[in-house]
Amino acid sequence: MQRWSRFNIASIVLGFAFLYLPIVLLVVFSFNESKLVTVWAGFSTKWYVQLFHNQALLDAAWVTIRVGLISATVATVLGTLAALAMTRYTRFRGRMLFSGMIYAPLVMPEVITGLSMLLLFVAIGFDRGFWTLTLAHITFTMCFVAVVVQSRLLSFDRSIEEAAMDLGATPVATFLQVTLPVIAPAVFSGWVLAFTLSLDDLVISSFTSGPGATTLPMRIYSQVRLGVTPEINAVCTILIGIVAIGVLIASVVSRSREIQRVKDEQAAFAH
């Protein structure tokens, strides 16, 4: 057993406090009886009840989920294809440029991405609304998917694809029956990442959405400008809860898989 020095304990406490104190405060005050966010007046769940009567907020949530699902799915397809192209065809002309251009949006300030898309939509006369919003989300999330899938493909044993072709599978059959199932976990994490990014994006959404397509982060932000209400705290607590459960499930699943795999391997070599 390792011994804990005082210094280590202090570092951990400070670090976690720094990360989670604001969130804890937010969660606690979402259960506040008082309308004043900073004054504690007893426990209540009335803000959660009120939340489900706030049609504007519910509409925003519905828009956010639809945009997230569509954009994450399309971004996953495009990002996976880009990753495949970059790991498979390592010698085409302009590969460096292409791969650099895939990574650039990751570090590009969102304001610039948002503004440039706005200019494009205006220039081609595309009415801003749900679809422009979705297109913008596809654009910025697909690079993240490409990066996640590409890192998986780098460690991918290509001889299994050759084996499939050797056994008579056409390139399409090889991709569907061998490549895709093997890289599926990475594709799925890419999807989850894209969905999460889409869910909490504010800047790009503000530039590219139009009337009738307000996302939850946009709605929260505009309400906060009129003053923070405990209702907002309640929304945020629900969001935090959803994210936490998602992370928990993902890590439990991968952990139990890992344990099962180690067990299987030990069993295989035991005899």
């Binding site: 299994i160 050759e162 084996a163 008579g168 059959a173």
Partner: protein
């Protein structure tokens, strides 16, 4: 030249001018940029032959195998299989199957689905697939492991799944890329014989790539020794070992002592070489090099006798030296003998007698000697 024997006495289609090769590699060259992996190579492989491509890494043996499988296209030349050119035919349409060095099992499929994969691609009826998978599992003795996934198997079991999968479609030719490379020594030796039995039983043509000469010698009917993208010699294992055609092959296969010198006489089926070690070698040879030419004499360690007494044949085929090192291996003893000119040669003798009185020891003066047909003349 006298026959040096072969693995299967009755099986020698390469010696029969009327037999038709099953695989004909014709002047195949493969370039990767500036690098020439396979250089104007020609080979014939006959039906039901167990053929080995042997060479160090980078000699082009794997590239040649990959061209047979269809993963690489020759830069020039052509490959003919069973009378048909393979040019432009993709891997999934070739009647050959390959067993990969890494086994390349599909990690997300069970053993039986791995084996059934190729059959499903052909659209075989389900009942037939099940029957064939069953048969293949029995063949490689894995019937109890049908529902397992590859990571639930040991290395030896994975190797057998890979073999079963590559045999399931009953290919005309099975290509094996370092099939036993990942197994430990004992398992490797067992599996060598299993592979040979399997090949006999199924009557298939096997082409195996290996860098392990013992593996090639044990399993193959004929071996092609490769270097720098070219075939140096194609022959049966005994011929390769006893009659290497070049210094490279003599040196590559097994241990060898090479004495350099000049040809002092040649005729009547014997050649005499005055060696730089100060003694003359007289050797039986069908090919007679010109008198005065440089030549080498290659002789294997087990063909050299070591003794304290001056042999009857001296001064021909005999030289004096002292024992420099002794390696006792149990079944035999390896002597390193330092000759008068400083050259150290290897000689090995079988320990056929259990308790030898006064065995040869370190620093002792000894004679080495060998028979007239103990070695071969190397012209290069």
């Amino acid at each position: 030249m006298k026959s040096l024997g072969s693995i299967r006495r009755s099986f020698a289609p390469w010696a029969d001018p009327k037999s038709v090769p099953f695989i004909a590699v014709k002047n195949v060259t493969k370039r990767f940029g500036d690098f020439v992996a396979v250089d104007d190579l020609s080979l014939n492989i006959y039906p039901r032959e167990f053929f080995a491509l042997l060479g160090a890494s980078g000699c082009g043996k794997s590239t040649l195998l990959r061209m047979l499988a269809g993963f690489e296209q020759p830069t020039s030349g052509e490959i003919i299989l069973d009378g048909q050119s393979l040019a432009g035919i993709p891997p999934y349409k070739r009647p050959v199957n390959m067993m990969f060095q890494s086994y390349a099992l599909f990690p997300h499929m069970t053993v039986e689905n791995n084996i059934a994969f190729g059959l499903k691609q052909d659209g075989m009826p389900k009942a037939d697939i099940a029957a064939r998978v069953d048969q293949m599992l029995k063949l490689v003795k894995l019937d109890k492991f049908a529902k397992r996934k590859p990571h639930q198997l040991s290395g030896g079991q994975r190797q057998r799944v890979a073999l079963a999968r590559s045999l399931a479609k009953r290919p005309k030719v099975l290509l094996l890329d370092e099939p036993l490379g990942a197994l430990d020594k004992k398992l490797r030796e067992e599996t060598q014989f299993e592979l040979m039995d399997l090949q006999q039983e199924l009557g298939l043509t096997f082409v195996v790539v290996t860098h392990d000469q013992e593996e090639a010698m044990t399993m193959a009917d004929r071996i092609a020794v490769m270097a720098h993208g070219k075939v140096v010699q194609v022959a049966t294992p005994p011929e390769i070992y006893e009659a290497p055609n070049s210094r490279f092959v003599a040196d590559f296969i097994g241990d060898v002592n090479i004495f350099d010198g000049t040809v002092s006489s040649a005729g009547n089926g014997t050649v005499e070489i005055a060696t730089q070690s100060g003694f003359t070698v007289r050797v039986a040879s069908a090919e007679l090099p010109a008198v005065g030419a440089n030549a080498g004499f290659a002789v294997r360690p087990e063909k050299i006798r070591v003794g304290r007494d001056r042999p009857a044949c001296a001064p021909l085929n005999a030289a004096q030296g002292e024992i420099w090192d002794i390696g006792y291996l149990g079944d035999m003893t390896v002597f390193h003998v330092k000759l008068k000119d400083g050259k150290v040669i290897k000689a090995s003798s079988l320990n056929a007698v259990r308790a030898v009185e006064d065995p040869i020891g370190y620093d002792q003066e000894v004679w080495i000697s060998f028979d007239e047909n103990a070695g071969v003349v190397l012209k290069d």
